[in-house]
């Protein structure tokens, strides 16, 4: 009886409801940018990992100056093999560069460009740009490097990755990784089933 009444009601509704589209509420177009694009500041620029954790379980980091202030500055080594006290075992695979290509003896918070200009460690991206112009250009247009936040800067800001977030400056190649789990649905066996159309 109930299904009958539903059927009758549905039939009646079909006749009545062949209505017209309702106007949808209009939403104004994006305004001018009101929020900034920030670049993340990786901790590794000003401190090193100790491998230990603090009382709250956060990784314990030590500022570069903590150790370097205990030793008189000496000339920079030309290769990692010469490291006898700090950063022993540091891996290095960044072209033909040597330590002094970027670092300044006795200065842990300063880097040096090829033309001798000194830059703050936190502005390390200025240094990267000297050689990696194509990547820098793409980065400036949002086509290189991860980001989070808003595409519409009139609504909210955006945070960009720093070069060093993904590329260890001493071993800059993007490291291979294990992928997240793949699909387990029935269409995802060996073949992609993307052909035959």
């Amino acid at each position: 009886m109930r299904s009958l009444s539903i059927a009758v009601a549905a039939a009646a509704a079909t006749l009545v409801a062949c209505g017209t589209d309702q106007p949808r509420p209009s939403r104004p177009p994006p305004g001018p940018p009101a929020f900034a694009v920030e670049i993340n500041q990786p901790a590794r620029l000003t401190s090193v990992e100790t491998g230990e954790v603090d009382a709250l379980g956060r990784p314990l980091r030590v500022a570069c100056v903590t150790c370097h202030s205990l030793r008189a500055p000496t000339a920079l080594p030309t290769s990692t093999a010469e490291l006898d006290e700090f950063h022993q075992g540091l891996e290095f695979a960044h072209g033909e560069l040597s330590c002094a290509s970027c670092h300044v003896a006795g200065e842990q918070r300063t880097l040096r460009k090829a033309d001798g200009t000194e830059v703050d460690m936190r502005d390390a991206m200025v240094l990267c740009r000297q050689c990696h112009g194509q990547q820098a250009r793409d980065y400036d247009h949002g086509a290189h490097g991860g980001m989070t936040g808003h595409w519409d800067l009139s609504v909210g800001g955006r945070v960009r990755n720093h070069c060093v977030d993904c590329h260890d400056p001493h071993v800059p190649a993007f490291q291979p990784m294990q992928p997240a789990p793949g699909p387990r649905d029935r269409g995802s066996s060996r073949r992609t089933t993307m052909g035959n159309h």
């Binding site: 994006p30 290189h144 980001m147 936040g149 609504v155 294990q178 997240a180 793949g182 995802s188």
Partner: protein
């Protein structure tokens, strides 16, 4: 005398079994009728709903989610924004096939945990080949593998979308910001659209999604990531519940390489416009004339 009696007995037994089997076979229909809501039967097409009707439907869906999944969610209907036409580009030189986008989509869009469903499939392709038939999606080794490149494929939000054309009930359509949407309440589950899509971008809910309560994303859109019922088709919506509020899509935020570029094609200063104007971009299966809004490019 014994003959007719046995015949009658067998007839009675047969009839009883038959009736029992019929009742058992018809059980889903009875259950379906019991769960049927008159409001649901009488509802109009999404486009014909008044704001009041729609609000009522949203509240009903929220209550149903609470009942079924035990979670308080907020389901919104977010109309497209004026002056916005979305486009997406993907840099195949940067992509390493890590499936972080796949994972982010899975979580953001309340996908079924059992099948590990996602709107994105990453094809592992052979260097020197562009045959998608030869690509594999279930690779499970360190990436990027030597001699391979990776091509994530999701809904291309075609401007001439075959999936929309074939729908017999207009349960799927293109919105004015370029996103192709599905009304899960209107879809009859015929899967014509799934067959029509040359990019294998649509998925069918063979079962109602299984998601633990604490993993459900409570920020939901009626036309996007609300939990889909069983028996309907679903697809990528460029995360419209995020992007129509100015946010980047979840897959882009998850990408560790920055392969993904998203924005509005109508803003000449947008990143996506820069890519389209300065990179050598192409679309998948251009020869089909689907006019995708999803572009691919190589750096080198």
């Amino acid at each position: 005398m014994s003959g007719p009696n046995r015949r009658v007995a067998l007839k009675v037994v047969g009839a009883t079994l038959g009736a029992g089997a019929f009742a058992y076979a018809g059980r889903p229909v009875a259950q379906w009728a019991a769960n049927l809501d008159l409001d649901e039967v009488l509802t109009r097409h999404y486009k014909e709903l008044t704001p009041e009707d729609l609000a009522q439907i949203l509240r009903r869906l929220e209550a149903e989610t609470q009942e079924t999944y035990g979670v308080d969610v907020r389901i919104e209907d977010i109309p497209p924004q004026d002056g916005v036409s979305f486009g997406y580009a993907l840099n195949l030189s940067l992509c390493i096939g890590c499936r972080k986008c796949v994972e982010a989509c899975h979580q953001e869009n309340n996908h079924d945990r059992r099948t590990n469903n996602s709107y994105i499939r990453v094809l592992e392709m052979e260097q020197g080949s562009f045959d998608m038939e030869k690509g594999t999606v279930d690779y499970d080794h360190t990436v990027p593998a030597p001699g391979k490149y990776y091509m994530p494929v999701q809904c291309q939000q075609c401007d001439d979308a075959p999936c929309v054309t074939v729908c017999p009930v207009e349960a799927t359509w293109k919105e004015k910001d370029g996103i192709v949407v599905v009304d899960y309440n209107w879809c009859i589950g015929c899967r014509y659209c799934e067959a029509a899509c040359p990019y294998h971008a649509r998925r069918f809910n063979w079962r109602a999604p299984e998601i633990p309560a604490d993993e459900i994303n409570p920020d939901q859109g009626y036309l996007s990531n609300r939990i889909r019922p069983q028996g309907v088709v679903e697809k990528c919506t460029f995360c419209l519940h995020r992007t129509r509020k100015g946010l980047l899509p979840a897959c882009l935020e998850a990408c560790p390489t920055g392969s993904r570029v998203f924005g509005t094609l109508l803003d000449p200063k947008s990143d996506i416009r820069w890519v389209l104007e300065h990179k050598r971009v192409y679309v998948l299966k251009e020869e089909l004339g689907t006019r995708p809004r999803f572009f691919y490019f190589f750096d080198k």
